[in-house]
Assembly symmetry: C2
């Protein structure tokens, strides 16, 4: 197509789930040439059906790319993509950049970056925030850190994917660390919101009124405002699942333990996510913590007399 000038960057996206698919599409819409790969062939076919290029292996996607955007769940998958038995590290051309979006321990991000630079390509530590809708519209928030060259090479992709890119310094790990601070707060705030709204139910308060008053008061949080409507609707269809915070608060715990830093709030929240997962709600919406509190106390939540008990 005419918009693909000769100097257009070639971007590869590894992982075409709900986030990666939207990110790949945002980059294509912005005029980049994009090749996508996923372990699920159906995901690749879906991208091809939308006019994207597909690859049969991660290595095929990465070969010749200027920018490789990795959109997988965790540090283990990220390391496997780069350095596993079918890893792409040897296929990445010198001077290209690997953009890692997974939430992970900053120490792992630093180590992956060190190994990447030793092989002659750049590494951008770039955790993302915002859901699938923002991925599809190119309006993610990215918390990024890495070398000047990593930022410069990744720039066309960052501009296409994000409404806001926080540039947090020239060392991989800083982006990951800030993302973990956000996840600590987000995980605790969801648990607090669920503890509070089910406590209000236990006392027989009008939950709609509670939502109205709290969202206008000092007790408000972004998560209270966003998640409590799921509870009021009795709708636990997963927008973000309990298991996400089992994972992310687990990373917080591991980091904190290794740094000798006490996190009693995050620890209490993690126990509730573990209990919810153990009680069978791991793949349900993270607002399911409210259902857990209700089960533990006899509080009556909306919808709890039907399928949710």
């Amino acid at each position: 197509m005419s918009s693909h000038a000769e100097n257009t960057a070639l971007a590869a996206v590894i992982g075409l789930g709900s986030m990666g698919f939207g990110m790949a599409r945002s980059m294509k819409h912005a005029g980049l040439e994009v090749v996508g790969y996923d372990i699920m062939p159906a995901a690749v076919e879906r991208f091809v059906a939308e006019g994207g290029r597909g690859a049969a292996t991660a290595t095929e996607a990465a070969r010749g790319a200027d920018i490789i955007v990795s959109v997988v769940v965790n540090a283990e998958q990220t390391e496997a993509i780069l350095f596993g038995p079918e890893g792409i590290a040897d296929a990445i051309k010198p001077g290209a950049v690997f953009v890692s979006s997974a939430t992970m321990d900053p120490a792992v991000a630093r180590e992956l970056s060190r190994r990447a630079e030793a092989l002659g390509f750049h590494y951008l530590d770039a955790p993302i925030s915002g859901g699938a809708a923002k991925a599809a519209s190119g309006e993610l928030t990215i918390m990024a850190s890495g070398s000047k060259a990593a930022f410069e090479t990744a720039r066309p992709a960052l501009d296409a994917m994000a409404a806001k890119v926080y540039e947090l310094g020239d060392t991989a790990g800083t982006g990951a660390a800030l993302k973990m601070i956000n996840q600590l707060l987000a995980g605790v705030h969801i648990a607090a919101a669920c503890e509070a709204i089910s406590f209000a139910a236990k006392q027989g308060l009008d939950l709609g009124k509670v939502y109205e008053v709290i969202t206008a008061s000092a007790g408000n949080s972004w998560m209270f405002e966003n998640r409590v409507p799921h509870v009021l609707a009795g709708d636990y269809t997963p927008r973000s699942a309990i298991e996400i915070f089992v994972k992310d608060l687990g990373i917080v715990q591991d980091m904190a333990r290794s740094e000798r830093y006490p996190v009693p709030l995050a620890a209490a929240a993690l126990q509730m996510y573990l209990a919810a997962a153990g009680a069978g709600m791991g793949r349900d919406d993270d607002a399911s913590l409210a259902r857990l509190y209700a089960q533990l106390s006899g509080a009556a939540l909306p919808g709890s007399n039907s399928e949710n008990e």
Copy 2:
């Protein structure tokens, strides 16, 4: 003065601290006739110097008043004002309303209301939110519940003191319950904010940048946004003290224990407020929890090399 028409309500304010003084002044500015009392004679003198009427005892203030606004710290003080050895209950004229602003267990509010109605006066359960500045400008938020007659009689005072009055039903205790839900969330969010910002410091992150990113992200809370600047400035002058949440999360614990409702997040937060108070910071700003986390971990916070260590 000419604004004091014959049918102007006479309001008494019991407790002329930073909140009560502002509330008394707001009512006077709105045209009510206001008489103030405080156990500290200097507080009464200050109100008189501003043109208010002073009383030598609570009973003298209450006698003949249409509206008695009680601005004290807790349930015990509220009960003492009404029913203690020098209590005002017998001096309150029939049909007057006692407006109780202290944060307390809803069960206590219900009991105080029952005793008030039995003596022939009304009781409005009316916890307040907003600081001294909003009290002085008549812009508090009030979470109120009580009989129709209690609301009607209190109306001139409510209109004068508050920018927003949530009317939560005709039973005392509902206002108190909703205030406790707010305090549960506020107390947990302050603790989470301090846990997170000191964890960021422990990792060597740029705390100003952390504040910028988090306040624009899903990890934000009203309390993070409001309290973390105290930490960044290294300024623990008490705007609201640690001991306030020792009290309020203590009430949450007592309520929850009695109702067989588990509150692991609020419990973890309370332990941190207790530790901060035990470590000598009880009268300092509640953001002092960040200093506690720093002391427990060796994290370096702004100002922590000077007077705060």
